[in-house]
Symmetry: C2
């Protein structure tokens, strides 16, 4: 089953742009991971809010993506920039537009 997740980070006050930069570096690393279908970063009108929404070939691909040293370093860089997380959802992706055909 195609695996999705999404959630809202709240950056430390004034730290939103730095957190966005770290998450965009994470997205760059995902380009080398064939199990990652989508990893999208966005901001909203809420101060300090950064949303990430993701689609993976399956949950195992997501879980494995957290293991490489460069990803652990990115997570370590992001942690002090994050004040909290909310609206976190793990999802069974049932289909849609923008996914590879076998996952749509």
């Amino acid at each position: 089953m195609t695996y999705g997740r999404l959630g809202r980070f709240t950056a430390q006050p004034g730290g939103r742009d730095e957190l966005v930069a770290v998450l965009r570096r994470a997205a760059e690393a995902m380009h080398r991971d064939p199990g990652c279908l989508h990893y999208v970063v966005g901001t909203s009108q809420e101060p300090d809010a950064v949303w990430v929404w993701e689609a993976w070939t399956d949950k195992a691909a997501h879980d494995a993506s957290l293991e490489p040293p460069e990803v652990r370093e990115t997570i370590a860089a992001a942690m002090p920039l994050i004040a909290g997380m909310s609206d976190v959802a793990e999802l069974d992706v049932v289909g849609g537009k923008g996914l590879p055909e076998e996952h749509a």
Copy 2:
């Protein structure tokens, strides 16, 4: 600016699968809309929850997508299946994986 939106629908009790089917038909229609980059439908462990997350070339493309008669019909078909919406966010997409290069 690439435009994103996401949100959680709560289906009427027992109506989740029917709502998913309607939203998948909506996603099919989006395949004919070049302004729609992503329109992904997923379910979670929460009973009756259906999430949709979207990316558009810009907000105007999203707003225009709601106008065609077939889309209005799909919205009308979905409305009686929906008990509520929550966690709705409008987003400035700053980049990521899975988007066309000029939006990534």
